[in-house]
Symmetry: D2
Subunit: 150 residues, 4 copies
């Protein structure tokens, strides 16, 4: 495939897989963009995913941050591969509030067995953007011949 065809293929695989993640519909997240090695996920502020102070719960922030990283990894994989998060660490920099969150995940290093990724989560409000979280995550490459597919 040409690079453009590969990118279209990655875009399609990411969106199909994302569409099968029922948690994303539950929290209201959607895929904003898919580039080779970089995926952006958007989560509008909604009332049913908050913590006790009225901010978006760290778990929801982590959910989109982890997924942005996982799909960034998937975007550089061959079509026959799936990825599973083996670990992530997230630093929460500021309360997650505003009109919406945006998680941007990027591939730092793609190996045969592991893909190392990092990501940032931003809160958008009144035209301004503030970083609210920083994530690093390790994705394990799994052959879809095992029955797992993305």
């Amino acid at each position: 495939m040409s690079d453009a065809a590969q990118d279209r293929d990655a875009d399609r695989r990411v969106r199909e897989s994302f569409g099968r993640q029922s948690i994303m519909a539950t929290i209201g997240a959607s895929v904003q963009s898919v580039r080779h090695g970089e995926v952006e996920i958007v989560l509008p502020f909604v009332d049913h995913i908050l913590q006790q102070h009225g901010f978006i719960h760290a778990g929801a922030v982590a959910t989109i941050a982890d997924s942005a990283c996982g799909y960034a990894a998937l975007s550089v994989m061959p079509a026959a591969a799936a990825v599973l998060t083996t670990e992530f660490k997230i630093n929460l920099l500021s309360p997650a509030k505003g009109e919406r969150l945006r998680a941007v995940g990027r591939v730092v290093r793609a190996g045969k067995k592991l893909v190392i990724t990092m990501g940032e989560v931003f809160a958008d409000e009144a035209g301004a953007s503030k970083q609210v979280a920083l994530i690093t995550a390790t994705m394990m490459v799994v052959d879809t011949g095992t029955g797992l597919r993305n």
Copy 2:
């Protein structure tokens, strides 16, 4: 207060705060038990919090793991203090499937500014229990005089 009265007070504060976390009702999690320095949260397997392979999404696993750790920290704090997660790291050991997940958070060290916690998440199925995640988390102690309360 006596130790028993303090424990009843901690139990009440944890459950009240948890009740204000709208994300917990959304995903279906509840507080199982509150002890001094240890909190257990239960999440039954439900279809609307899954990832693309049909397992519970790592973000939902992290949500209950982080909250179990945060409330374990709160359980050892004076009534006037709130806690905020500043960072956590989670290792995902096995696919999160089964009848329900149980997250147990524990205080490792309680300082004046920071409380270090760790936790384990188990998947229960057919009477057996398997560890599926390991978390370490740092909670920042916040004076509720700042307007934040738990």
Copy 3:
């Protein structure tokens, strides 16, 4: 091999590999004990591994914590396998001071590709022991046929 023979073999492999880590002689660390899935490393307080306040540097604490975890992983591997740290996270709980540090690493889950470990570092002083660090680490299993050996 019998279990006892396997344990002796693991003990021998860990100590041989440790003996090839020149950094351990430089900082003065040694292997205290090797059990199936658990390794203990000792580091006496010495003046040439300190940070600016006179405590043992977090990097030296991490060095023995990471190695205790890595060798705990190696202790459950077949003889033909080597392990490499792919990531670790360490929480520093208290200043690392006293007569000596002891790092205990344990296997949490041993998979075919990855071994998840955790560990604790204690400072011993005047007969008492205080936990000063908490580590979680992921080890990647490498076939020694690749040229790497432990």
Copy 4:
């Protein structure tokens, strides 16, 4: 103080503190540059800090990565403040080999109590540079009135 005077002051404070870290002389590390919110530390390849395969030990990589992050935090602090690492996580991307390592630490967010930092470690060889590690670290701000100074 003017910005330029503040930067000279930060440079002086970082280098003085670094000079008191005996572990840095032991492993052979030195401060390459100090900017506002960014510090670079260099570690030439030497034979006495290796692991069993002949690469620089992950603990030594972590030592310079943690210090680059800690001093980046210190570079944005008032003169009366000290910083202590409360936690860091490091992903090891490739074997640490080559002529020398360079760790670059940067401030991501500077709060009153905590400074969140991240850093990268590069291996330089034959004029080329390859990233070998990625770190995120949380620094706790400590008043030097407590007796701690940097």
